[in-house]
């Protein structure tokens, strides 16, 4: 009995295996044939000029961002690994309201575009800098560093007020946002960057390497996400729609402030783009240059990765409004 049972079982198993193998093999061959025949045709059909342009812009934004992101993560990992815990609290005024403008002005020292400033601001907070001061630094660094100001003066030859306007409006926005955070900010909105437990593995060269690796990968994913969004808008929104709005002064300021968010032009290049937007008032172009380095899709994605999604959305929308207001005021005063 037992014996026959095992033989029958074995037979049944063999038959089942055979059936599966035949069915599975046939399915596999069918799939392979269809893919190999249709694949190239489909791929060619899908690789239309807009798709090719999307890929180019997408890769371009990512490639352009990598060196700056790496610079930012190197600085932030170095702060994390080599700078003693209390040094920033000693350097910055204890009073938060005073620390904000100091940190905002300190943005001059980080020569890079906005990708670099997010990880640095994160590591400053990790090192005990008041969030308000770190946020002021985050906003001002990409807008007021010497590289960007020189680029602006080259893009607007003979218009030093444009450079001054950009400096004043950006700094004012950064400081205003810092003060707003002191007054209204809530710690729970901010998912504070990982507080690393002080152990020998996190300081020194080893901590530097592992912090760098972690920060770069973390921010890199968000950079790619932002690049994809920027490329999509770049391809989906033709710039000729801009001509429709050049008539009204108010609409054009609003429009360029929105455009700065969706185009994600890096802060070293946005002056040239702004200069090419002839037909817009100087104030509107100023708004483009003030909003761009502070709020754009790539930056929102990076901030969401570092500080949490709920923070990024709140912070970016308020920053947008403040930046717009400050550039309108400065534009009305200077330009």
């Amino acid at each position: 009995m037992e014996n026959r049972r095992t033989v029958a079982d074995g037979l049944w198993l063999a038959v089942r295996t055979l059936v599966y193998a035949v069915l599975g093999g046939a399915a596999l061959i069918a799939v392979a044939t269809v893919v190999s025949v249709l694949g190239p045709v489909l791929a060619l059909d899908l690789y239309t000029p807009p798709v090719a342009a999307w890929w180019t812009v997408f890769t371009a934004v990512a490639v352009q961002g990598v060196p700056f992101l790496l610079l930012g993560t190197v600085v932030s990992a170095a702060i994390g690994a080599f700078v003693p815990e209390k040094i920033f609290s000693r350097l910055l005024p204890g009073n938060q309201a005073l620390a904000v403008p100091v940190a905002g002005a300190a943005g001059v020292v980080l020569p890079g575009c906005e990708c670099a400033s997010v990880p640095v601001a994160g590591s400053l907070m990790r090192r005990g800098v008041a969030p308000a001061a770190a946020l002021a630094f985050l906003l001002s660094a990409p807008a007021i560093n010497p590289v960007v100001l020189v680029a602006t003066s080259i893009a607007f030859p003979g218009q030093p007020t444009m450079v001054l306007g950009r400096l004043v409006a950006s700094l004012a926005t950064a400081v205003a946002m810092g003060w707003l955070w002191v007054r209204f900010g809530k710690e729970e909105w901010l998912r504070l960057p990982k507080g690393r437990t002080p152990s020998n593995a996190t300081t020194g060269l080893r901590g530097f390497a592992s912090g760098l690796q972690h920060d770069f990968l973390h921010a890199g994913g968000f950079l790619v996400l932002g690049a994809a969004a920027a490329a999509t808008f770049n391809i989906a929104v033709p710039r000729s729609v801009l001509d429709v709005f050049t008539g009204s002064a108010w609409l054009s300021v609003l429009l360029l402030a929105v455009l700065a968010v969706v185009l994600c032009v890096c802060s070293e290049a946005d002056a040239f783009v702004a200069a090419s937007l002839t037909g817009f008032s100087p104030t509107a172009r100023l708004a483009f240059m003030v909003v761009g380095p502070m709020v754009d899709l790539k930056l929102i994605a990076l901030q969401a990765g570092t500080f949490g999604r709920s923070f990024a959305l709140r912070f970016s929308s308020v920053t947008w409004v403040v930046a717009l207001a400050s550039s309108v005021l400065v534009g009305w005063w200077l330009l």
Binding site: A52, V57, T59, V63, V66, K194, G220, F222, R239, S240
Partner: protein, 263 residues
């Protein structure tokens, strides 16, 4: 696989950056030439970092007891979760959105390694009106000597439209760009300008007329055109736009390694 994930990603990204900047000039399709040293440095740093991470992981696996890196890593992840109540993610430490999202880096990296996207061409040029450099009518410095004189499309355009000294008059010029065309059959020599990266590309184009313009090359073909300026419209006015060139010769060329013009 998961252990080596970050090492693989760093190596992939670094290799992709080095492939386009150190081993070829493909980076010029995406960014401007000044970025090359920074790209090479970042590519090298990323490769080294990836190798270091891989070695650290491999050693860590061989001596699991003293696996500092792993403990360290787990520590962060737990810390993260403490701060991160409003953002609930999966049950395990590694379901953290950052590291998982980092796999997105593989997308541009693999694209650059296997099939680098082409330079922007007629599609992008056609999507927006050609940009006019913002400047007033005035005199320009004298053109360099040479017959024909090599110019960028930008130099030609701004001299054609804004130069009250009319320095282009009587000179034979030579320019390289790609072909775009209107529905009515007029064709243009076109070039894109990139300041920082391809996302900020703007267009400049010159209408080609004259004897050699009848055999129009296909759209997107790269050509070198030699000819003389055809004055049109009042200086600085809309009628002067786009500038016109009477072509003497049109020669097909290969795409230059730097497909964009710099400002």
């Amino acid at each position: 696989m998961r252990r080596y994930g970050s090492a693989i990603l760093l190596l992939l990204t670094g290799a992709a950056i080095l492939r386009i900047s150190l081993l070829s000039e493909l980076y010029l399709r995406y960014v401007q030439s000044g970025l090359r040293p920074y790209l090479i440095v970042s590519g090298t740093v990323l490769v080294l970092l990836g190798a270091a991470a891989g070695v650290a992981r491999w050693r860590g696996r061989r001596s699991d007891d003293h696996d500092h890196d792993d403990h360290d890593h787990d520590d962060h992840d737990h810390d993260d979760h403490d701060h991160d109540d409003h953002d609930h993610h999966g049950e395990h430490g590694h379901a953290h959105p950052g590291p998982r999202l980092a796999w997105l880096l593989a997308l541009p990296a693999v694209a650059l390694l296997l099939f680098p996207p082409p330079a922007l061409g007629s599609y992008s040029a056609g999507r927006e009106a050609a940009q006019r450099a913002a400047q007033g009518v005035g005199t320009f410095p004298a053109l360099p000597s040479g017959d024909p004189v090599r110019l960028t499309l930008a130099e030609f355009s701004s001299r054609a439209i804004y130069d009250s000294g009319r320095s282009l008059k009587g000179r034979t010029v030579r320019m390289t760009g790609f072909v775009t065309q209107d529905d009515d059959g007029t064709w243009y020599l076109t070039r894109l300008y990139v300041t920082c990266c391809a996302a900020d590309a703007t267009t400049s184009k010159i209408e080609i007329r004259g004897a050699a313009s009848s055999d129009r090359p296909p759209t997107d073909a790269w050509v070198t055109v030699t000819g003389t300026w055809h004055p049109q419209g009042e200086l600085g006015s809309d009628a002067a736009w786009p500038p016109v060139l009477d072509a003497g010769s049109v020669v097909r060329v290969t795409q230059p390694s730097d497909p964009y013009e710099k400002r």
